[in-house]
C-alpha cells in the first residue's frame, strides 16, 4: 500500500475524511453508462467465448434454510461437471455447517468451497460470533469466506466499526480468501457503494461482492460498474488487485454477458478470469448451458434436458 493510504484508517476521523473525499458518483451518468454498455451486441464466437468464461466464473450457490447434505452434494456434482464439455464452475457457495459436505463432495476437483459467514445475511451479531463462525468455516475446509458488512454501522457513519470487523474477519480467514458483501441494495446511494468498496479494500478484502441475494435490488449493472471502477482505481493507488463478485438477480445468459462487458470495458483484461471476477448465482448456470447448446446445435432444447439439482 502506498504511504498516502497507510494512515487512512488511523482514526474514525481520518477514515471518514478519506471516504468522503472520494470523487462522487453521479447517479444519472452512472446509470447511462451502464445502460449504454448493456447495448453491446455479443454474438457468435464472442458469445460462445463469453458463455464459457461466465460458466467458469460462477459461484454456484445455495443459501436456503432448507439446504441439506443431499442438496449440497447434488449441486457439487453439477459444479464439477455442468454438462457436456462445459468448463467447471469456480466455486460452490454454502452455509458454514454444510462446508464439510461440500469439501467431501468436491474432493480434489478444483472447484473451490466458499462459505458465507458473519451472521449472514443480516450481519446482526457480535464480532465474537462473526469471527468464531468464520474460523469454524475455514477449519471445516472453506477456501473462501463471503462475509457481510455491518450496514447499520455503515449507514450511521461508524466506518471504523465496519473496518475493524473486516480486519478481524480477515485475520480469522488465515489463508482463505475473503469476499466482503456490501449489500448495495441497503446502502442505497452510489456514493455509498463507492465508499463501502474502498472501505472493504482498505481493510483487506480480496473480493468485494454486491449482495447477499436476499435483498432487492442486488447486482444491478450500475452498481457492478461502480465497484469495477473502485477496484481499478484501488489498484492504481495501491498496486493491490481486488476481485469483484456481483451476486443476486443474475439469472440469464444476457445478464451474465452484460457483466462481462462491464468488466471488459471498465477494469479490463486483468479482471477477466475466475480468479478476479465471479458471478454469484444459482439458476444462471442452466441458462448458460442452454444458450451454450443452442449456439453449438442451432436449436434450443427444452428445460427438461438440463438437470435441476
Amino acid at each position: 500500500m502506498t504511504t498516502s493510504l497507510t494512515d487512512v484508517a488511523s482514526s474514525d476521523t481520518a477514515l471518514r475524511a478519506f471516504l468522503h473525499g472520494l470523487p462522487g458518483v453521479d447517479r444519472v451518468g452512472a446509470d447511462q453508462r451502464a445502460a449504454m454498455l448493456g447495448t453491446r451486441s455479443i454474438k457468435t464466437t464472442a458469445k460462445a467465448q463469453a458463455i464459457d468464461l461466465a460458466i467458469s466464473m460462477v459461484d454456484l450457490t445455495t443459501l436456503e434454510g432448507a439446504d441439506t447434505a443431499g442438496k449440497v452434494r447434488a449441486m457439487c456434482t453439477k459444479a464439477v461437471r455442468p454438462g457436456g464439455d462445459a468448463p467447471k464452475v469456480a466455486a460452490v457457495c454454502v452455509y458454514p455447517d454444510l462446508v464439510p459436505v461440500a469439501v467431501e463432495a468436491l474432493g480434489g476437483a478444483g472447484v473451490k468451497v466458499a462459505s458465507v459467514a458473519t451472521a449472514f445475511p443480516s450481519g446482526r451479531s457480535s464480532l465474537e460470533v462473526k469471527v468464531g463462525e468464520t474460523a469454524a468455516a475455514v477449519a471445516a475446509g472453506a477456501d473462501e469466506i463471503d462475509m457481510v458488512i455491518d450496514r447499520g454501522a455503515f449507514l450511521s457513519g461508524r466506518y471504523m466499526k465496519v473496518y475493524e470487523e473486516i480486519v478481524a474477519v480477515k485475520a480469522a480467514c488465515g489463508a482463505a480468501h475473503l469476499k466482503v458483501i456490501l449489500e448495495t441494495g441497503e446502502l442505497a446511494t452510489y456514493d455509498n457503494v463507492r465508499r463501502a468498496s474502498w472501505l472493504a479494500m482498505l481493510a483487506g478484502a480480496d473480493f468485494i461482492k454486491t449482495s447477499t441475494g436476499k435483498v432487492s435490488p442486488a447486482a444491478t449493472p450500475p452498481v457492478t460498474l461502480i465497484m469495477l471502477e473502485a477496484v481499478r482505481d484501488f489498484r492504481d493507488a495501491t498496486g493491490r488487485q481486488v476481485g469483484v463478485k456481483p451476486a443476486g438477480g443474475i439469472r440469464t445468459t444476457k445478464d451474465a454477458i452484460k457483466k462481462l462487458v462491464l468488466v471488459n470495458e471498465t477494469a479490463g483484461d486483468d479482471w477477466l478470469t475466475p480468479e478476479w471476477f465471479r458471478l454469484g448465482a444459482s439458476s444462471l448456470l442452466n441458462d448458460l448451458l442452454m444458450q451454450r447448446q443452442k449456439l453449438a446445435t442451432g436449436r434450443y432444447a427444452g428445460p427438461d434436458y438440463f438437470t435441476l439439482d
Partner: protein, 475 residues
Amino acid sequence: MAIFEYAPAPESRDVVDIKPSYGLFINGEFADGSGTPFKTINPATEEKLAEVATASSDDVDRAVQAARKAFGVWSALPGAERAKYLFRIARIIQERARELAVLESLDNGKPIRESRDVDVPLVAAHFFYYAGWADKLAYAGLGGTRPLGVAGQVIPWNFPLLMLAWKIAPALACGNTVVLKPAETTPLTALAFADICRQADLPPGVVNIVTGAGETGAAVVGHPDVNKVAFTGSTEVGRIIARAVAGTDKKLTLELGGKAANIVFEDAAVDQAVEGIVNGIFFNQGHVCCAGSRLLVQESVHEEVLESLRRRLSTLRLGDPLDKNTDIGAINSAEQLAKIRSLSDLGESEGAQRWSPACELPDKGFWFPPTVFTGVAQSHSIARDEIFGPVLSVLTFRTPAEAVEKANNTPYGLSAGIWTEKGSRILWMADRLRAGVVWANTFNKFDPASPFGGYKESGYGREGGLHGLEAYLDV
C-alpha cells in the same frame, strides 16, 4: 489480443431499399430535377448509394408555388386536424425506425447505435411533441396563432433526419408549409421522409423536399415568396443567408457553429465527467454544432482527469458504422476530413501536444481517430476555430471566475457544460455563461421540450420547446 473480443455484429442492410436514383419531392409527387444529378456516397466505404436530382431555381420555384397553394388548405385546418397528421407521421417514423436508422448510418457514417438510440427516437419525439401543440397555440402565450406562410429550410449533414424534424415539426404544427433542402451529402433520409409524408396522406405541397448543393439552398432562401427562412449549418453560410434575407420581410432563424466549453471542476464526479467529455466531443464524430470541443479542466485535477480520459478513449471502438458495437463512425465527407486534418495539423504546428489512442483506421472511406490536444492556450487556433470533428482541445483554469471568463471568450455561444457535485456552483456558473444551452453534469442531451439556439456567432432564434413555436408564428 484482448481476452474478450467482440465478434462483428452488423445491423442488416436488408431493411433499406435504396433506389438507384431519386427525384425531387414537389406537391406530393417525385419529379425529376432540371440540374445535373449528383451522387451520394457511403462515407465509410466510398461506395455510391444513389443518384439524386439537383433542383434548379425553376424547380425551387415550383416547390414554393406548391407550398403556397397548399398553405391555404393547411393553415385553414383546425389545429386538431393538423395534429392528427403529425401524430401519424410520428408513429410511422417509429414503425420504420430501423430502416431510417440504417439509412442514416449508411448515408452519414454515424454509428448505428447513435442513429438507432438517439437520432430516430428524437425525430419521432419531436413530431409527437409538436403534434401536441398544434391545437393549443392559443395557450402558448406568444401573442398570436397565425402561421407565417411558406418556410424555406436548409439543413446540415450532421443529423440529417433530426434537423429535418426540428424544422418541419414546428412549422407544420403552426400551420405553415415547407420547402426543405437537405445537405447534398446526406439527402436519403429526407427523401425517405417524403415517402412517409405520402404514407401519412399529408396533403400535397405541405412538405416539399428539394435536393442539391449550395445553389439550390440559395434559391430556397432567396425565393421572394418564402416568408420564413430557417437554417442550420456553418457560421460562414449563415452570414451569407443573413445578408440575402436582410431588407426583406422574411423571418429568419439561424443555428450556426459553436466552440463549447465543457468545464470540469475538481469536485466533479470524475468517472461520469469523463463520460461526459467523451460524449461531448466524440458523439457523432464531433460533427455536432454544440460539441464540447474545449475541455476546461481545473488545474488541480488536470492530470487525473486526463489520465482517466486517455484510458477511456482507448476503449472506444472505431469502425463499420453499421456494427452495433461501433462507438466512432466515419467522417461524413472527404472535404470535412481535409478540414479536420488541416486544423489538427495547425494545432500541432502552433505547439499543442497531440494524442490519439492506438486505433486502426479502415483503408477505405473517411476516417479520423479520436484526438486530444493538451497544452492548449486560448490563443491557439484549435481553441478558437470550430473543427467539427473528433478533436478535443484541453485547457486549464484555476477559479470559477476564470472558467467563466475563458468559456465566454469565444465568438460563439451555443452550449456549455458544467461538471461539479456542488449545486450552488452550477447555478452560479449557469447565470454567467453566455451560451444558449448550459448542461449540468451531462452533455449533448436533447429533448423536444427544451429550446435550443445560440448567442453571438452561434446564431439567433430558438428551436424546440414552446420557444420553437415563436419562429413559425406571426407574432
